[in-house]
Structures are given as structure tokens and as C-alpha cells.
């Protein structure tokens, strides 16, 4: 696979139900042994089994998020004091407060340092400084 947006996430941007700069955006560190990603079929957070969610970040700080020429960026994100299974993927999602409506946005399975084995310390995700940053619509 490759790093890519979920079909549902793309559509939510398209119909104006998802605002990168305003909405509560978070990220999950995911154990791919407990969930097989399907970017076409997975739409909301409840599609990812709780057992597969090794850690969940806090809200991406709104003041650091940018949207320029269709490219989304934000400050680096840190998962604090992570324990649990070896994790192979990152999932950025729109947190609505309900798993059944929390839209999956981006799946990242290719990153320097993935898979990562939690050791109890913090895990920081440093975004790509290239053209696509976090993702490009």
C-alpha cells in the first residue's frame, strides 16, 4: 500500500463537512495486526477495532495548522508515554466525539521509523517537509 487519503475523508472535504483548519483533528497509532486497512471501505473510527488503536494523540493545535494550495500541514504531533503492540500505521481522523461519525482522513503506512515498538517513551511524528507535507488534496 501507500500513504493515502480515505475515500470517505476525501468526500467529506468535497461536500464541505470537514474543515482541516477548524475541526478537531487527531491521530491514532495503529497496530496493523489487529486491523487491515481498506481506504475505500473504512470510513469512520469505529471501523478500526479498539484493540488496534495503540495510542491516540491530542487535538492537532489549530494555531499550527495550515492549508495552502490544497496542502495540509501542522505542527509535529507527539504520542505521550506509549506502551502496547508494535505499530505499523498512523491514521489521521476528524474527532467528532462519536466513533461512528469520526471521519478517517489519512492512512500512513510508509514513514521513516515505522513500524515502531512502543517502549513507554514519547513517540513524535515529524511531518514531511516536502511538497505534500501531511497530505495534498
Amino acid at each position: 500500500m501507500a500513504n493515502a487519503l480515505y475515500a470517505h475523508g476525501r468526500n467529506e472535504f468535497l461536500v464541505g463537512d470537514l474543515d482541516w483548519l477548524v475541526n478537531d483533528i487527531r491521530m491514532v497509532l495503529m497496530d496493523a495486526d489487529d486491523h487491515t486497512t481498506d481506504q475505500a471501505a473504512d470510513d469512520n473510527l469505529d471501523d478500526i477495532l479498539a484493540a488496534a488503536r495503540v495510542a491516540t494523540s491530542l487535538t492537532f493545535p489549530t494555531g499550527t495548522r495550515t492549508a495552502v494550495a490544497g496542502v495540509a500541514d501542522a505542527a509535529d504531533v507527539t504520542f505521550s508515554s506509549v506502551t502496547g503492540d508494535v505499530s505499523e500505521e498512523l491514521v489521521i481522523y476528524y474527532h467528532t466525539g462519536a466513533e461512528t461519525t469520526s471521519t478517517l482522513v489519512v492512512n500512513i503506512d510508509t514513514a521513516t521509523g515505522l513500524a515502531v515498538t512502543p517502549n513507554g517513551g514519547d513517540i513524535t511524528v515529524q511531518w514531511d517537509s516536502g511538497a505534500n507535507k501531511i497530505f495534498k488534496l
Binding site: 493515502a4 515505522l114 511524528v125 515529524q126 511531518w127
Partner: protein, 117 residues
């Protein structure tokens, strides 16, 4: 073919569909317009299925030259087009690669408090 025996006619504010001389649909104009729209959408989907091999080949060419155009939103079709691009020995550009590649930085585990073992 069956559909050649169908006739569609306006009848006042209604639309009639007549098959072999028998009235099979009598619907108000709003329903006729909605039905025609639905038929068009389903027809295009059926056409895409009928022409799937052509779509796969065309998508393979577009993908290979880096054109950011999707001829289908069907993941299976897109995956097949990537395979076709390889068979055709075109250089590959993955149109799904629109997310960046981050780096994961892991901090060392917290030190144990010697007083608490």
C-alpha cells in the same frame, strides 16, 4: 431487443411508457425526470463495467505519465491499472501518493525511579 419495443410519450403532465402496446408506466413529470436521472447514473455505471478493460488501460497510461486524473473511483480498477502500467512497462507514478512521508522519532523509555524499583 426488448427495449426497442418501448415507447415513451408525454401525456399531459404525465409521462407514459408503453411496451408492446401496453401502458407499463404512468408517472407525473417529476417522477419521470427523477427516474431518467437515476437511469442515466446506473447506465453510466453499467457502461463503466462493460468498458472496464479500456478504462484500466487508459488509466494505466494516465498514471504512467503522471496525469492526476482518475477515470474510476473503483479501487480494484485502479489497482488493475497499476498492474497494467507495469505490464506495459511504462514508468509508474502512483496517483494515490498524495500524502507525505513523515518520520517517527521515538524517545527513550522513562528512567525507573531507583527508590521505587
Amino acid at each position: 431487443m426488448g427495449y426497442q419495443r418501448l415507447r415513451v410519450r408525454q401525456h399531459g403532465t404525465h409521462v407514459h411508457v408503453i411496451k408492446d402496446g401496453q401502458l407499463v408506466f404512468d408517472m407525473p413529470w417529476e417522477g419521470a425526470l427523477a427516474l431518467s436521472k437515476a437511469l442515466h447514473i446506473q447506465g453510466k455505471l453499467a457502461e463503466a463495467d462493460a468498458k472496464v478493460q479500456t478504462i484500466i488501460t487508459d488509466q494505466a497510461v494516465l498514471t504512467s505519465i503522471g496525469a492526476p486524473l482518475g477515470l474510476s473511483n473503483n479501487k480494484k480498477v485502479l489497482k488493475e491499472s497499476f498492474k497494467r502500467a507495469q505490464e506495459l512497462k511504462y514508468p509508474q507514478v502512483d496517483i494515490d501518493s498524495i500524502a507525505g512521508t513523515p518520520s517517527i522519532i521515538q524517545q527513550p523509555p522513562p528512567k525507573k525511579d531507583p527508590d521505587n524499583g
